[in-house]
């Protein structure tokens, strides 16, 4: 299987990478102390790593090609993925559901508050992921400025509370509405733009909102942010920090379940199918009579609503917000969740959020490499498995061609 030609190829590849990374990995110039540091062990690392990695890469590429060829040559019939088989079998589904519910209910009481806080973070990202799933996964509009709506939700709660003393329960729907409003506002100028331009412009909008929040001190208190945002209350009961966390946890679970329910219904509704049609081929969907403007604006608005709600929850959880939490890296973070988990698939987004939020918390030792890994994940997922880990394919039926029968 591993022939000499393969070894030679991998060897050449590793030589190339050693050459490529030589200045940046091996040499470090310290201009203050006028010293040059030579790190030869890095060269060895790169050489050996790229040697093995090239084998793996080529193997995976070959498997992708074979998989595609097998797909084309397959017999007619119904094709079902593994996940569909699991979720459609009634007994297994109910059993798994019962276990999951028990686990969720017991979580904050079994684990410490620190763990509960991490899970609360993950739940907020699940909400964000499901929201961006509507825009990117279902409607196919690459929105890199999604964090702007998140910021709008958080700041609307913070500012309304600061100026008018608005409590949490009123702020939640207002945050959602503010998100929707900004979604339409930002969606309107980008209606005519295609994929690449849309990405850059939405990225620009995200940055604009953050820069305005940072610089317009009279309105948003600039980089120092807004503090003392109250947590959600429950009929005036005074709660300790721990009980408050547990309360927020269950509140978030309820919101996430609500989100899953709504997104699921939307996916199968008329507007959901319109989004999927628009994602696949915009011109064809217009030809079938789908109003492109309305569909796009609805996608933006609905996606932004969830971000607004998640923003309000974020502000309530951390009780302090400032523009630094709403950079474009947050947007890319959420995008990575959707890409890893599976664009358009709800279960995939949940999995992606849990993987990308919980793992870094438990692997704190490697936190420096986190963004590096994100970039790596984005590239490799797109090359090898663009559908994500749990992809959103529907049941497919393949027809036999007439020539073969």
């Amino acid at each position: 299987m591993i022939s000499f030609a393969e070894i030679k190829k991998s060897f050449l590849v590793s030589l190339w990478f050693v050459f490529l990374t030589f200045p940046i990995m091996v040499i470090r110039v310290n201009t203050i102390y006028k010293r040059v540091e030579w790190r030869w062990e890095n060269m060895l690392l790169v050489g050996i790593g790229s040697f093995f990695f090239s084998f793996v890469w080529r193997y995976l590429l070959r498997r992708k090609e074979l998989g595609r060829k097998k797909e084309l040559a397959e017999e007619a019939g119904v094709r079902v993925t593994l996940w569909q088989r699991i979720t459609e079998d009634r007994r297994i589904y109910l059993l798994v559901l019962a276990v999951v519910i028990a686990f969720i209910a017991a979580y904050p009481f079994v684990f410490s508050m620190y763990q509960t806080n991490i899970m609360i973070s993950a739940l907020i990202y699940i909400m964000l992921g499901l929201g961006i799933n509507i825009v990117v996964g279902l409607a196919g509009l690459l929105d890199l400025g999604y964090v702007a709506f998140y910021a709008v939700g958080a700041y609307s709660y913070a500012l309304l509370n600061y100026h008018f003393g608005l409590n949490f329960w009123l702020a939640l729907p207002i945050g959602a509405a503010a998100g929707a409003f900004f979604g339409i506002l930002l969606g309107y100028p980008v209606l005519r733009l295609r994929g690449d331009y849309l990405a850059i412009v939405t990225l620009g909008f995200g940055e604009i909102i953050r820069l305005i929040l940072e610089n317009w001190n009279e309105f948003s208190f600039g980089p120092s942010g807004i503090a003392n945002i109250p947590r959600p209350w429950f009929f005036g009961i005074k709660m300790s920090l721990e009980q408050s966390s547990i309360f927020i946890y269950f509140l978030l679970i309820a919101l996430v379940v609500f989100t899953i329910f709504v997104v699921n219904r939307l996916k199968d509704s008329r507007i959901g199918r319109a989004w999927i049609a628009m994602r696949e081929d915009e011109v064809a969907c217009q030809a079938m009579g789908i109003d492109r403007t309305k569909t796009k604006l609805t996608a933006f608005a609905l996606g932004a609503t969830w971000a607004g709600m998640a923003g309000v929850m974020f502000a309530a959880k951390t009780t302090f917000i400032n523009p630094a939490s709403f950079t474009i890296w947050e947007s890319i973070n959420v995008l990575c969740i959707v890409v890893l988990g599976g664009m358009g698939s709800i279960l995939g987004v949940i999995f992606g959020a849990l993987a990308l939020i919980l793992l870094p918390e438990y692997l704190r030792a490697f936190s420096e490499y986190r963004m590096l890994l994100f970039g790596f994940i984005l590239v490799t997922m797109m090359v090898f498995r663009p559908g994500g880990i749990i992809s959103a394919t529907r049941r497919t039926y393949k027809f036999k061609s007439l020539d073969e029968s």
Binding site: I24, R28, Y197, V283, M371, G375
Partner: protein, 304 residues
């Protein structure tokens, strides 16, 4: 109000400097987009890697006591070589497997590559702002205008002009230039007449990365410090410039860059400097709404 001519000239020349640097980066964007219709998000990082490589080479050679102008040329040369190598590798890894995939996939892959390269430099080097030694000596004949323009700016103008001329020569009068034009017009047809499309795409990436590296070296010695993050903002602005001038058109990239450079410079000089980036993005939004094909771009009708 008395007209402060000196201030105006200073802003004008500062804008010209910015515009030139944006032009060097925007050329790479526009050439790649013209050929494979992909916004190479990682291009800004190639520019940053060029600057870093130049810094490293400069550091090593300065400690060995070489002459400053010689260091400049050697560092620039090495930076160009390395950036081209990075551009070539990025294309082979992240873009070539996705040539037939939907546009969204390639775009996300580009973003991932940009993220990866940024953090790669951050981890392998440092997150601090590294000082870049001033390698360009102050010219004697420029002394009367010292308060308006510095010698590094003049070097930037001259270098950018030379690069433009060389690039135009490449595109118009060489065989590979003709092949590039052919592939950007119609890829399948170019394949049918025997053009090696893979090679042309690689050459495009290499040339684009080379110009970006030159920009990186120049801006590093002009501003005097570099950081792993400079590629990102410069990349976005250069993209705005390329779109402004008409993406896919080389003179358009230059024109768009100069316009953006001047308007940014005058805006920050006369109105406010806090909202500088906001201005660039708003500018982009307006252009895309009212004239999506840019100043010199051809209005493309979508064929079904």
């Amino acid at each position: 109000m008395s007209w402060d001519f000196d201030y105006f000239m200073e802003l004008f020349l500062a804008g010209l400097t910015r515009g030139s640097i944006y032009a060097l980066i925007a050329l790479g964007y526009t050439m790649v987009y013209g050929i494979i219709e992909l916004i190479n998000f990682a291009h800004g990082e190639i520019y940053m890697i060029g600057a870093f490589t130049a810094l490293i080479v400069t550091g090593v050679l300065t400690l060995m006591g070489w002459n400053s102008v010689a260091i400049l040329f050697i560092a620039a040369g090495v930076a160009v070589v390395y950036s081209s190598a990075y551009g070539y590798t990025v294309e082979k890894i992240a873009y070539k497997p996705l040539r037939n995939a939907p546009r969204l996939s390639a775009l996300i892959s580009a973003i991932g590559m940009s993220l990866f390269l940024q953090n790669y430099v951050l981890l392998a080097q440092t997150s601090d702002f590294l000082p870049f030694p001033a390698l360009i000596p102050e010219f004697e004949w420029l002394r009367p205008w010292e308060h308006i323009v510095r010698s590094s700016q003049v070097v930037i103008y001259v270098t950018t002009a030379i690069v433009m001329i060389l690039l135009t020569f490449l595109i118009k009068f060489t065989r590979i230039g003709k092949a590039m034009r052919a592939v950007s017009q119609d890829k399948e047809m170019a394949m049918l007449v025997g053009v090696d499309v893979n090679r042309v795409i690689s050459v495009t990436f290499i040339v684009g990365s080379a110009t970006a590296a030159i920009g990186g070296v120049l801006i590093a010695s002009h501003i005097g410090q570099i950081n792993f993050y400079i590629g990102f903002i410069a990349g976005i602005k250069a993209f705005v410039a390329a779109v402004l001038g008409g993406i896919g058109s080389i003179p358009g990239a230059v024109l768009g860059s100069l316009v953006l450079g001047w308007t940014e410079s005058f805006f920050t000089g006369y109105i406010s400097s806090d909202y500088e980036d906001v201005f660039a993005f708003l500018f982009l939004v307006f252009i895309l709404i009212f004239r999506p094909s840019g100043i010199l771009g051809r209005a493309e009708s979508e064929k079904v």
